[in-house]
């Protein structure tokens, strides 16, 4: 397969070595073909093994989530592969009938949706201002925002819990949402400002000549053009908040806690609570996995761009 094997390359070699070449090539070609064939086989086996290795942990929890707690205590999930009669959706049923669980699932939605929409809207407004408006110190302000990109969320846990306590929103969904908005903004502004800045000037000028003001320009020209960037940002922020545990662990209480926190409380008795944890983890994974498979491109670009967080 390599260029070395193709006879067409022969003439490009120095004429002096061509006699030797013709005597050696067939053997070498055969040997290298066999070698590369064997290597290809080894490579394929290796990659298949890695793929299996990557799938088994998740698959194990998936199978466990469909088993009876008694079976889980007695035998490994792999025994269910040969005895599929073990499989039952009972754990899911009892979980979805549990008000605490469905309530926390709803809380996850109530936290994630506003935190995503607010970041997109507020980030887009600021990004647009940084890209297309003239004001003094614009570059300095933008630089300050870029500096905030890598600030770890941990640094704000203690200060904001006392601030939210003073404001009376500690333990409230609003507090959790605000936290995620604050820490989602630097990346949103950075990403969108760079995207907006690449919009052709002529487009904006044409709209301006039609009599559009800043607000209309922003809403009817800039935002629709930025749809791909908004999608990447939205998906990233959505998953970030949906999957968060730490922020919610600190800022929510039993009434406002999302699913991650509700599940985390069951982990201490891992063995005894596996019938809650396994299906619970899968319920929390459904949305991210659907998003992942449905929007692979935006997902990858969003995660790639935002990983620094």
């Amino acid at each position: 397969m390599t260029a070395l094997d193709t006879p067409a390359r022969g003439p490009s070699r120095p004429a002096g070595s061509s006699a030797q070449d013709t005597s050696v090539r067939p053997r070498r070609s055969l040997a290298s073909r066999v070698a590369s064939g064997a290597a290809g086989g080894v490579l394929r086996v290796f990659l298949v093994l890695v793929a299996v290795f990557w799938l088994v942990p998740t698959f194990g929890l998936l199978v466990s989530s469909f088993r009876d707690p008694k079976d889980i205590a007695e035998s490994g999930w792999w025994t269910a592969l040969t005895a599929p009669a073990q499989l039952t959706a009972a754990s899911y049923e009892s979980l979805l009938e549990n008000d605490a669980v469905t309530g926390s699932l709803l809380n996850t939605v109530w936290i994630t949706v506003p935190a995503t929409l607010l970041v997109i809207l507020i980030g887009a407004m600021a990004g647009y201002a940084f890209a297309w408006m003239d004001f003094k110190g614009r570059d300095w302000w933008f630089m300050a925002v870029v500096a905030l990109l890598v600030v770890p969320v941990q640094v704000a846990l203690i200060p904001l819990s006392s601030l939210f306590g003073t404001l009376g929103i500690f333990g409230d969904i609003i507090g959790v949402v605000l936290f995620h908005v604050g820490f989602g903004l630097p990346f949103a502004i950075f990403l969108l400002r760079n995207f907006f800045a690449e919009i052709p000037r002529e487009l904006l000028e044409a709209a301006r000549l039609d009599g559009a003001g800043e607000a209309r320009l922003f809403l009817t020209v800039v935002m629709p053009l930025a749809a791909p960037a908004l999608a990447s940002l939205g998906i990233f922020q959505f998953l970030w908040v949906w999957n968060d545990m730490l922020v919610a662990l600190v800022f929510s209480d039993s009434g406002s806690q999302p699913l991650t926190v509700a599940l985390q409380q069951q982990v201490r008795q891992f063995g005894a609570n596996i019938d809650v944890l396994a299906p619970g983890a899968f319920i929390s994974m459904v949305i991210p996995l659907v998003v992942f498979f449905a929007f692979q491109r935006q997902f990858v670009s969003g995660v790639m761009a935002g990983a620094v967080k």
């Binding site: 260029a3 390359r9 490579l43 394929r44 290796f46 793929a51 942990p57 998740t58 194990g60 929890l61 205590a73 007695e74 490994g76 507020i122 980030g123 407004m125 600021a126 940084f130 890209a131 408006m133 003239d134 004001f135 630089m143 870029v146 500096a147 600030v151 770890p152 969320v153 941990q154 640094v155 704000a156 846990l157 203690i158 200060p159 601030l163 605000l178 604050g182 502004i189 760079n194 800045a197 800043e214 320009l217 922003f218 998953l239 999957n243 968060d244 730490l246 600190v250 991650t260 599940l263 985390q264 891992f270 396994a278 899968f282 996995l289 790639m304 761009a305 935002g306 990983a307 620094v308």
Partner: protein, 453 residues
């Protein structure tokens, strides 16, 4: 060349800022309009990100409840107290090991998947864990690492590999039938005959305590040992058959042999000969055993190998790092694959034409060309690893939590998990911030450079 690599990984975080020259407004913005667009963002950033930084620095100089000024005391505590020092040390281990491991795996996967047709499917599988929460990943791996080989898949694999390579068949619950057997417990889990044995007279060593259908492998029926000769012979077997019946202490039809049982001949407390029972349960000791007592050493009845204590104090951090690698290898792989797509294939071909083998091409051409992407991935992962919290909090069981401790977890425990020490917690927060300052500086410098162009 380097340009195309950078371009293909554009948006790989703040480290590679796309170059965009500043634009002039098309509308001639009035100041109040700009303020209106910026105000929500600046108010939120100021109160939720900037103010907390200042507060943390100030708070870290005060004691647990904020009443007394302690200067840098919290920082001194952080690096001297045993508990927090473990967290510091573990975070250092994480930063030193995890990013390098993830990047190396990502590089290997990215290079190898280019050579198979189903590379995209492979990438999808390895990248998938990036979509799920650290909590879910933690639960997944808590199950993988369960100590019981009948629950955790890691130990199930380890024990079955171990049992394949060590042929010592052991019967952990077997014991002699006290009513009919001459065998008596002799300490250390072993059993010894009370009488002595003679050559030529087969010895019967009946054991009970295991169900015949729970015997490992495919056991044969027990056979009586041959009589006569100058060797000491005998049979070790399970003196019980399904459905009952048969005479106690005698080898009945369908009673199963116990193979692989070690039998020692003991004289005056010294082992003079030893043998292992065959598949039909018989054993044969040389003539020296004549007149000795027979002993079944405790190793025959030792508890079975139970695998590795993954989440015990010694291995808990490596085990959790393993789960992190599982989550993030896909991230490194996809970024590096994007960089690889921008590499000029002619350079690789040229090296091959010059006679370099695949390893040399990889080592001398591919890796150097990918160096910018590799460093981006490495730095990104380092920033990420410094803050690792969820995985440790979920996977480490309570008894191992101290050994698995990391800075982000210690912060949480100090301030919210019952520690009640906001001074120490703030100090840890400030340390985490200081650790990412170099990256912050690189980001800003890059931005300024682009402005000046």
């Amino acid at each position: 060349m380097a340009n195309s690599v950078a371009k293909s990984t554009e948006g790989a975080g703040a480290l590679l800022t796309p170059s965009v020259p500043p634009r002039k407004s098309v509308t001639g913005t009035r100041l109040w309009v700009a303020v209106l667009f910026l105000l929500p963002a600046l108010v939120l950033l100021g109160s939720l990100v900037v103010y907390p930084i200042g507060y943390s620095v100030w708070r870290s100089l005060y004691d647990a409840d904020g009443s007394g000024f302690v200067g840098l005391g919290n920082y001194v505590d952080l690096f001297t107290d045993d508990a927090t020092l473990t967290a510091v040390r573990n975070t250092a281990v994480w930063v030193a090991v995890a990013p390098a491991l993830v990047t190396a795996l990502g590089l290997i996967f990215a290079v190898l998947t280019e050579r198979v047709r189903w590379g995209t499917a492979f990438k999808l599988i390895v990248f998938m864990p990036m979509a799920i929460s650290m909590l879910a990943a933690g639960i997944i791996f808590r199950l993988v690492y369960e100590a019981d080989p009948d629950r955790g898949v890691a130990n199930a694999v380890v024990t079955s590999v171990h049992d394949t390579f060590s042929d010592a068949a052991v019967y952990p619950k077997a014991r002699p039938n006290a009513q009919v057997s001459d065998l008596k417990a002799s300490g250390g889990g072993s059993f010894t005959t009370s009488g002595t044995v003679q050559a030529g007279t087969p010895v019967l060593l009946p054991l009970v305590g295991i169900a015949p259908n729970k015997l490992p492998g495919d056991p044969q029926d027990a056979k009586a040992a041959p009589t006569g000769g100058d060797r000491v012979t005998g049979t070790v077997w399970l003196d019980f058959r399904l459905g009952g019946g048969g005479e106690k202490g005698a080898i009945d039809a369908r009673e199963k042999a116990l193979k692989g049982v070690k039998v020692e001949a003991v004289e005056d407390g010294k082992v003079v000969a030893s043998a292992t029972s065959a598949a039909d349960g018989t054993f044969s000791l040389p003539a020296e055993a004549d007149g000795a007592q027979l002993r079944l050493p405790g190793s025959n009845f030792a508890a079975p190998y139970n695998g590795i204590d993954w989440l015990g104090p010694a291995l808990v951090t490596p085990a959790i790092i393993g789960s992190y690698v599982w989550m993030w290898a896909g991230f490194a792989m996809v970024l590096i694959a994007a960089g690889l797509a921008g590499v000029d294939r002619n350079l690789l071909e040229a090296a091959r034409v010059d006679g370099a083998n695949e390893w040399q091409v990889f080592r001398r051409v591919t890796v150097p060309l990918l160096a910018p992407v590799l460093s981006v991935v490495l730095v990104t992962l380092m920033i990420n690893v410094m803050k690792v919290f969820d995985l440790v909090y979920i996977i480490a069981p309570q008894p191992s939590q101290d050994e698995a401790n990391v800075l982000a977890l210690q912060l949480f425990l100090s301030s919210f998990g019952g520690g009640g020490n906001n001074g120490l917690g703030s100090a840890i927060g400030v340390i985490l911030l200081l650790l990412v300052l170099p990256v912050m500086w690189v980001n800003i410098r890059r931005l300024r450079k682009e402005r000046q162009r």
